[in-house]
Structures are given as C-alpha cells and as structure tokens.
Amino acid sequence: MLKVQNLTKEFNNVVAVNNISFEIHPGKIFGLLGPNGAGKTTTIRMILNIIKPTQGSIEFNGKKTQRGFENLIGYLPEERGLYKKSKVIDVLRYFGELKGLSKQEALKEATAWLRRLDIESYLARRIEELSKGNQQKIQFITAVIHDPEILILDEPFSGFDPINQQLVKEILLEMVQKEKLILLSTHQMEVAENLCSSILLMNNGLEVLSGSLSEIKRNFGSNLYRIEFEGDSSALYAISLAEVIHENGNSAEIKLKDGVQPHEFLRCAVDKLKVSHFSEVEPTLNKIFLQSVKTKGSQPEARTER
C-alpha cells in the first residue's frame, strides 16, 4: 500500500500542492483527477522523489520511501519524449537498466514487450523513424519494462488511437490482476469513471473530493430519477413530492424533494400513469467535478506548473 499523508509543496510562496492525503491499494486503480494546473504533476513528482515535498510523508508498505524505491516505480509522464536519434532497443535497454534490470533481462523484456505491442520489427530502428503512435508505445514500454510494483501513469491514453487505447487498457487490467498499485492521473473524467475504484479530485492544489468512486456518487446523491410512462404527462407535475427537470412526452427526469423516498414518489406516479421504467440517474463524475469545484476549493488565482 502506498500512503501519502499531508503532502504539501510550495514554490516561491505559491502553494502548488496543499495538504493532500490518499492511499493506493494493491490491485486497485487510483485516479488523481483535476483540471490542468491542479497540482497533479507536482504530486506525482513528489512520489517519484524528483522534487522534495515541503511537508508531508510518503510511505510504501508501512515504511518511508528510501533508496531503491525508484526501482519499484514505473512512470509514464504526460509529456512524452525519447532520445530521437537512438535505436529503440538501446533506449529500452537503457531505461530498463536504470531501473535495476541486468543487461540480459532488459534486452529480454524489451523484446517481449515489443512483440506484445506488435512493433517487434522496429527493434533496430531509430526512434525518430517511428510513427507517433509507435513512439507512444515505446514510451509505455519504458514505464512497465521492469515489472514495477507501482505504476504511475500521467494521461496514459492521450496520443493513442482507439485500438491502442484498448490495448493499453488491457495491459492495465492485467496489472490490476497482478495486484499492482496503479495511479492514473487524468483530466478526462470518463476514463477515470471507467477504470478507477477510488479517486482524489484536486483543484488549485487542494483536495476537492476523495474516496471510493461508488461512495462518492452515492454521497453526491443528486436525487435524480428517470421515469418512462404512458399517459398524460401533466399528472407528473401534479405530484408535489418531486420537481420535473425536463420532460418529453413519455419520459422525464425528476428530482425528489429533500426527505422524499423514491418509492413514495413511485407510488403516487403509478396511481396516475402507466409506468414502464423508473431508475436512479447516476451523476457523472464530470458533473460531480464541475459542481464540487464550483462550491469549494476554487481560488481565482493564476498558477504555474513546474
């Protein structure tokens, strides 16, 4: 388990990350979400020990991270880059060796991954000769070549076409099966919604929301329901237990008033209409995010990412 506590980073009196805490568990994908400039990358860099936190601690399996910890992490940075003039296999071998693999292991793993991602034939090519998508694959391999315990992925799907996005997703799920710890940083809420079991929403360096995804959704409890029916829709408006958000002939979205249970409303509705469908409308993460950012954690302050 990776435990981050009260992590804070200041740059020249600007607080880039402000008292952030979270845990990542084996076999789970943790989503670090937020708009650009929220402090996600700074948080990641502190976990990677690229920069030192002003305050706070990072523990792995109950111990403070120390020398050698970097070999357990695989990192896919948001901005991609490789040695353009170098050969694919040389670059993979170098990054593998830097993560503690021996030369033989690095070569073996590199070849296996190239085969897996279907670009084995580029082994001896220079990076610059590869297409952008294939360069992204090479970059992805550098993050996973040493079979890391912790995988930190910053916007992993950007730059991939749908087919390769699927491929990356499969590899991620495989990692989940192997009980790895995965941190996924993104501002694409749909991606997080699909993959993450728990998330932390950041804005302006502050935590906006955190917890397991289902819990967050439940707590957010928008009390929105969707109803499909036959009959005169004006009957819906007559029910005092709820407010009609919008309605089009034989379906509508309604919001229950505070304290009203769904079955109470349904009972009234069934009396007047022929109901064919009634279900809770789950708020999308996007909606939750937008609403949360609006209500708290927003400081109208220009920020620079470092």
Binding site: P77, E79, S86, D90, E97, L98
Partner: protein, 414 residues
C-alpha cells in the same frame, strides 16, 4: 554506483555513434596538422625557379663579391638560384638609376634589388628593395652575403690575402639547445617547441568546446522532451550528473587515444616532431583536469539554459576565456616565469592551458605544479557540488531562464 556507470556508458555510446563526433575526431587532427605543418613545409620546400635579382652598387666596390656569392646558391636541379643583374650604369645619376631599377621591380622583370649606398667616411647602407617583403630564405642570405663581402673588401684593403680573409670571416651557426638535466641536452628549434606545446592547447580547446557543446545539447534535449523526468524517476540528480561527466570523460579519453594513434602513425612518417611527447605525463594530468573542470561547468549551464541558442551564446563566452591562453601563448613560451604567467597558472580557468605550455618550455617548479593541481582539483570538486545543486533544480524548470538571484537561492537550498 552501478547506475552512474550505466549512465556514463549510455552517454558515451550514444555520443560516439553520432556523425558529428566521428567527423570531428578524424577531421580535427588533420586540421591541426595542416595549420601547423603546412607553413613549415612551404617554407622548407626548395625553390624551383631561378630568380632574377638586381644589384645597384653605388659605391662600385661590392658588386663582384655579391654576384659571386649569390651564384653559389643552386636549385635542386643544379641551376643557379639567382641570376644577378647589374643595374648600375655610367652616365646616369644615382636618382635616375634608382627610379629605373624600381621600375624593373614594379613591372616584374626582377624580383628586387640590393642597393648599396655610400655614407660618410667608410660606411655604407644597404637595402633590399622589392615589392613584397616576403622571402623567408632570401633576406637572411642577402644579409649574410653582403656582410661577408663588406668585411672581406675592407680586410683586403688592410692588406690581408684572400685565403686569410676566408678563414677570418667564416661563420659559425648558432644551435639552440634545451636543457632538462645537468649536462643532458637536446637540440630543438623554437618552431618545433612552439608547435609541440601549442598542439596540446589546441586539442584541449577544441575538445572542451566540442564535447561541451554535445553535453549542453543533450541536456537541453532531455529537458525539452522531458526525458529528464523518466531519468530522475530512476536515479538521483547527482548520479545523472556524475554519469554524464564520466561518460564525457570517457569520450575525451577515447578521442585522445585515437589521436595518439594518429600521432604515432605520423611520427613514423616524420610529419610531427618527437617533442610532442615531452613531459607527456604532466601534460595528461593537466589535460584531464582541465577537461573535467570545464565539463562540469558545461553540465551546470546545460541544466539552466532552455534553448540551443542560449547554449551557443554561452559556448561563445567560454571560448573567449579559453582562447586567452592561446593569445598569450607566445609570451608564455618566451618568458615562462613572469608573475602574470605564474598567476594564470593558479587560476583554474587558465591553469590547464598555461601549464600545458609551460611544461613544454621549462618544467615549472614543483611547488607550482602541486599548488595549481590542488587548486584545480578543489575547483573541480566545488564546481561539481555547485553544479549538482543548480542541476537538481535547473533541469526541472522549463521555460524561463533563472535570474542570478534565483541561481544563488538554488545553490543555498539543501
């Protein structure tokens, strides 16, 4: 430590494979050889054509002697080197003869002419009038010839016979000899000494600028495409820095090795003087230390600059510092123990090149060698310490170049 070696090895292998490096490594010695050997070869080549040279002897006493001696110089194929033309004619004033002779020179009929003019009492003045002042070989010859003739004519008037005169005025050539041990000696010429000392300086100079440029470019590249983040998530900044300096050091040693092989090959062909290998141990010491010192500076700068253009500006400034020893190299060789040279021998920026020069001319006192080496090693250590601090923060700051104040803050930061 293992990671440092991996980094060093990668840096070394990737740089060595670049075309720029290969071209530099092979081309550069050729250029050095060309600019240092070709002039000597040109001067030393035997003349191949006969030169018409005039003599305007207004005293009428020296023409015969000069002509006879000039005729003794032969070309390689046995033809005379000079054709002597008598320019004095009766019935003309000296001024007329002079302007006629000048005209002949200007229209190219003769290379130039020796003019002997009488002065008060017994003395004369002699000049060689020609269009260009060249003629490395000609001028000393003419001077020698005239003085021989001048002396013998006067001795003749004092009643000596020609055989006696020949003996009296025979010349003894001066041989420069460099002393390294008591009573041990080695013949050398100023040219070979100058060349053999300056060649190390040029090698150091070019290597620093070239590899420094490579280094800055690679750091700037890693910064701009954010490879640096992957590297730093795998190793510490200090490991990265040390690895890079070591890798470049290996590159430097490899270069020296290749060049040494080329030098040895050329030695066989007598193209370069053996003096190059004088004091090679001490030279190598300063060479390596100087190289490390400048490399460390280049890494620090590379971490701060954000574009290649900025990098080039900086390389420009550094090359001015580096070129200073070249500018004063002649002075250093002529007077290796003046105060200025001693001071420059202690400043880490200039001590390697200055010491490289001094070692060739005259081994500096032991205390100076030890002191300057210690200062240099200490400076390298301090530079790497400071550089690593700048590097640690500099490589992660993109966009704007830090101000001096920020740099100082970085260095102070723990």
């Amino acid at each position: 430590m293992k990671k440092i070696m991996k980094i060093a090895l990668f840096e070394f292998m990737e740089k060595i494979k670049t075309r720029a490096f290969l071209v530099f490594m092979i081309l550069f010695p050729l250029i050095v050889i060309a600019i240092s050997i070709v002039p000597t070869m040109l001067v030393d080549t035997k003349e191949e054509i006969t030169h018409p040279v005039g003599v305007l002897d207004l005293t009428g006493r020296y023409l015969g002697g000069i002509a006879r001696q000039l005729n003794e110089y032969k070309l390689a194929d046995g033809q005379p080197n000079y054709i002597v033309i008598n320019l004095s004619s009766s019935g003309k004033t000296p001024g007329e003869m002079k302007s006629f002779a000048d005209k002949l020179v200007l229209d190219g009929s003769i290379d130039g002419y020796l003019m002997v003019e009488p002065r008060q009492s017994d003395s004369v003045s002699v000049s060689y009038r020609n269009r260009n002042l060249g003629g490395f070989n000609d001028l000393p010859r003419f001077e020698k010839i005239f003085n021989n003739v001048y002396s013998s004519v006067r001795l003749l008037r004092h009643g000596f016979n020609p055989v006696e005169i020949q003996r009296l005025i025979s010349n003894v050539p001066l041989k420069p000899v460099k002393i390294e041990q008591p009573s041990g000696s080695k013949e050398t010429s100023f040219e070979t000494m100058y060349f053999s000392s300056i060649i190390f300086l040029m090698l150091l100079f070019m290597m620093i600028l070239f590899s420094g440029g490579l280094l800055i470019r690679s750091v700037v590249e890693e910064k701009s495409n954010r490879i640096i983040e992957i590297l730093l998530s795998s190793c510490t900044p200090d490991e990265l820095l040390t690895g890079k300096i070591l890798g470049l050091g290996m590159l430097g040693l490899f270069q020296i090795f290749v060049w040494a092989v080329i030098a040895l090959a050329l030695l066989g062909g007598n193209y370069i003087p053996l003096e190059i290998f004088d004091g090679i141990g001490l030279s190598m010491l300063y060479f390596v230390l100087g190289y490390l010192f400048y490399t460390a500076i280049f890494v620090g700068v590379g971490s701060v600059v954000t574009t290649e253009q900025e990098a080039q500006h900086f390389t420009g400034y550094l090359s001015i510092v580096l070129i200073l020893p070249l500018v004063i190299s002649l002075k250093v060789i002529q007077t290796p123990d003046i105060l200025l040279v001693k001071i420059l021998s202690l400043i880490p920026f200039t001590s390697p090149p200055i010491m490289l020069l001094r070692i060739k001319v005259m081994t500096p006192p032991v205390w100076e060698i030890i002191l300057s080496t210690l200062i240099l090693i200490l400076s390298i250590y301090l530079t790497i310490m400071i550089t690593s601090k700048i590097f640690r923060i500099g490589i992660l700051s993109y966009g704007k170049r830090p101000t001096l104040k920020e740099l100082v803050a970085w260095i102070k930061e723990k």
